[in-house]
């Protein structure tokens, strides 16, 4: 399992997911509020930058389309924040139209902490470092802001089909 630090353990009672707009408006969900939203069960292929792929993984979670539905924003960019301090950036349009989820089940079981639980971002059409584990929020931005690996040589966008691993790829 890829990890850039110690595995955070977040009690579900205090877990929270928040979307913050460029104007500073915050929309947040508790664990129970997240579970109460309509969920989907995407089956997707994962592509890790260290060259392995895992095919047909099955998840349950809430589409970002649902979470962003009530959010008023003019932002073009998003920065995902995780418990433990990790960040990763992506264009807002890559979170929309059924391309991204906040997932909390893997293979029919609650997502364990080592796999990013209680909940992680899932953006399967980009390299896996964009699918932030232990996600706690998404910040909407007018300007692109590189995240943890994007400030240390990794590609800003990370399209596996174009092998965008490093800056300049």
């Amino acid at each position: 399992m890829l990890s850039a630090g110690p595995t955070p353990r977040i009690p579900l009672e205090s877990w929270q997911f928040a979307i913050t707009t460029e104007a500073g408006q915050q929309h947040h969900w508790s664990w129970l509020e997240l579970l109460a939203l309509p969920s989907q069960t995407p089956t997707v292929d994962l592509h890790c930058v260290t060259k392995w792929s895992k095919l047909s993984t099955s998840w349950r979670g809430v589409s970002l389309d649902v979470l962003l539905e009530e959010v008023e924003t003019a932002a073009d960019f998003a920065l995902a924040h995780s418990y433990g301090g990790y960040t990763t950036n992506l264009p807002l349009e890559d979170l929309l139209d059924g391309q991204a989820w906040i997932v909390y089940e893997y293979d029919g079981a609650p997502l364990p902490p080592e796999h990013g639980g209680p909940a992680r971002l899932l953006v399967p059409h980009l390299y896996l470092w964009k699918s932030a584990k232990w996600v706690r929020g998404i910040q909407l931005l007018l300007e692109d802001e590189p995240g943890f690996w994007e400030t240390a040589g990794y590609h800003d966008y990370g399209d596996p089909w174009r092998e965008q691993r490093y800056q300049g790829d």
């Binding site: 399992m1 890829l2 990890s3 850039a4 630090g5 110690p6 930058v49 260290t50 301090g85 470092w129 690996w149 400030t151 240390a152 040589g153 990794y154 691993r165 490093y166």
Partner: protein, 84 residues
């Protein structure tokens, strides 16, 4: 002329990176703890190497090795004292 270009670093950096940096002593920006690079907690099962402070778990050093170069981030380190 108030500064010179980065070529002036070539000699000093070559000397520094020719030594074993794990013996160097650094101070954590986040908590101020000082200790040798060898005592950092390094997470290697990631897209790069992430070395964290044993005192506060904040990132002290990151190193990403690409096919044609490396990226070194020392933002979490006040300075490195390198025995020469």
């Amino acid at each position: 002329m108030t500064y010179v270009d980065g070529n002036a670093l070539a000699g000093p950096l070559r000397e520094i990176f020719a030594v074993d940096l794990t013996a160097a002593s650094g101070q954590c920006v986040a908590c101020g703890q000082t200790g040798p690079v060898a005592a950092l907690r390094v997470y290697t099962s990631a897209p790069g190497l992430v070395a964290r402070c044993p005192g506060c778990d904040e990132v002290v050093l990151r190193l990403v090795r690409g096919p044609s170069g490396a990226w070194l981030d020392l933002r979490g380190c006040v300075s490195l004292q390198i025995p020469l």
